[in-house]
């Protein structure tokens, strides 16, 4: 499902859909960043209330979780949307939080893992929320190193 001119990126055929309609899904897509370069990422549109959560099990961790988050530039360049919060949790404990403001573009985050460093079978969660979910086409990528 794609948005054509100026619309949302294509939602891949393989995706996890949550309640609220097709926009509230998690799936691998490609967005255009502030220079219109491609960024492969996990689409993660926050819901009206609460978070949209993506959970990974049996993750081998390094010392940090490093990633990037942003929106399709055509959406965030207007700088009219609410901030988006990405909460990173390991084994149920929040290890860090990344806040994306419109206009930042494809922005980097790095979260130290503290007591979870070098765990071999961790459960990692990414929770995305926003105080106003309108047009919050958030997409992120992350890895542990």
């Amino acid at each position: 499902m794609s948005g054509n001119l100026g619309g949302n990126p294509t939602f891949p055929a393989q995706r996890f859909e949550c309640a609220g309609g097709p926009f509230f899904n998690v799936g691998v897509t490609v967005i255009a960043d502030e220079e219109f370069r491609p960024r492969r990422c996990l689409w993660s549109h926050p819901p009206r209330i609460g978070e949209i959560v993506t959970q990974f099990r049996d993750v081998a961790l390094g010392s940090t979780i490093v990633g990037h988050g942003g929106l399709y530039w055509m959406i965030e360049r207007e700088k009219k949307g609410a901030p988006i919060e990405l909460s990173v949790r390991v084994d149920g404990e929040e290890v860090g939080r990344f806040v994306h403001q419109d206009g930042q573009g494809w922005a980097r985050f790095e979260i130290p893992l503290g007591v979870h460093i070098n765990k071999q079978h961790a459960q990692v969660e990414f929770g995305v929320s926003s105080k106003n979910h309108l047009h919050r086409h958030f997409c992120f990528e992350a890895r542990s190193q």
């Binding site: 490609v30 219109f36 491609p38």
Partner: protein, 611 residues
Amino acid sequence: MSARRKLNWVDGAIASALGTSYAAVLVKTVGQLGYARDEGFYFHAANAYGRWFEAFWTSPKTAVARGAVDNAWGVNHEHPALIKSLFALSNVLLQKKLHLFAMEGTSYRFPAMVLAGALIALVYIWGTEARSRAAGLVAAVSLATFPRVFFHAHLACFDIPIVAVWTLCAYTFWKAIAVQPASGRIYKNLKWPVLAGITFGLALNTKHNSWFLPIVACVHTLATIVIARMWGGALSNQDVRVRLKKTALAMAAMAVLGPVLFWAMWPWIWRDTGSRLVQYALFHLNHDYYNMEFLGVNYFTPPMPRSYAFVMTVATVPAVTLLLALAGFVGRARLRLIMGMSWAARRWVEKNGGVGDGKKPGWVEKALVWKAQIPALEKLGPTGETELLWLLSIGVVYTAWLSPKTPIFGGTKHWMTAYPFIALFAGVGFDDLIRLIKVLLVSKRNSLFQKKQGWLKLPVRAALRWVAPLLGISVLASPIAQSAASHPWGLTSYTPLVGGAPGAATLGLNRGFWGYQTGAIVDFINQAPQGSAVFVHDTAGPSWDMLVSDGRVRKDLRGVGSVDYSRVGLYHHEKHMGGVEYQNWVAYGTRCPAHIAGLDGVPVIWAYTRP
């Protein structure tokens, strides 16, 4: 002030030949050009207007009823009606009744092509009348071969029509204000003032660029009078009075006939005139900002780059034409400088009457010597009032792009109304160049004669005869070649000054917009499996439908607005469109295009296919 040449039948024949052959070339080459996004909207509007014309023909009373008028003319009412009416009439009469064209779309485009031909003929006429046949010819062909003009001249849009009508209005205004010294008979011939009024009405009904015309006319009037009065001698008091009256008459005709004609020819404003005109004006005054790449940056909101119009002009108008225009301008500026200095020198001498020859300042001595050149240079033409009108027609238009709020999304088309006047100055520059070379050749001949090498006179005499044609070929060859090579990628075309299309792409200049490039890859599209859906990206639905009507795209292929469920996905490259390309990647699971097309190795449109 009377250096206006009388035209004869030869000029009429040349103008007709130029106009007709240009329109013929456009018709001949149009089949390779896809349909621009905006053309699709104008086809839709023209069809609505066409149905109204047919209804008017059968039942005029019903057709002029409010509901019927608003239903038909409410379509695309953000632009006035004249040109779309011509598209409609051409389609109804020339295609549906006479089946004149091989492709349906050409019938809509035909009126703009005819106007393009008329524009080229008019530029020839004006250049010839104001300066010489050589100037007119070079001006006309130069304008015809601005690659961007050549591109836009094919389209069923308003951009070339407004250039044609604007130039015609300026020309009629120029004719209307012509002062024959001490003639005095102002109201005897009303032809040109009335024509100025009519053509202004046509311009108003063509495109909103026409709003700049009164500015040009007013500034021109004020400036010519001020200059004449200040310098003295150029116009007598009586001439100034005649000028004022003639100008007032022309402007009155424009002020009265223009709006009346505008109203009469645009049924949408027949009712609720005031509020609808406000709506029309506000649409353009508060126009959305679309995206445009310039030097690698995607602009979508103010401040816009102030250098845009100037850099793009240099990057898209053949350098030889710009150089000739500059030479033409500098040549005439030199004359006006000499006139100014001569006026100042005369004032100095009047003030210091008793000063002997040897005691005058250097500039006064020089000015008095140079003064002798004035009559001959003035006689060559154009007149000062003509130069000023041409200059204002360039300056007023470009001035708009000094504002950081002026949108740049339309590329060069928005200031194309200035191009005929750049071409006219190029014609003057060309004529100056011929004269200069001839003077050099004559002086060479004389020196040979003095050296008793009279046998060499013959080649010099032959050379004198061939100066104009050879020089003409040399200054027109490159623009002709550039225009020919640019087709059908007009908006990707850039001059060698920026490295052509590859150089411009490297510099980050826009490679094209409007999605017209689909027409260039119809052979690839037609290889799609039976009944396939094709994601048309930036090509408007009606533009795609016209490719199908033309028979250029197979009837079983469906143009769709989303890559979902499509078999072929098009991508028209623009910097800000990257996201649309990635929609193809995710939908088809591939980043490898199945087909790429463009100009000189610069990719402009590419297509993905579902594996």
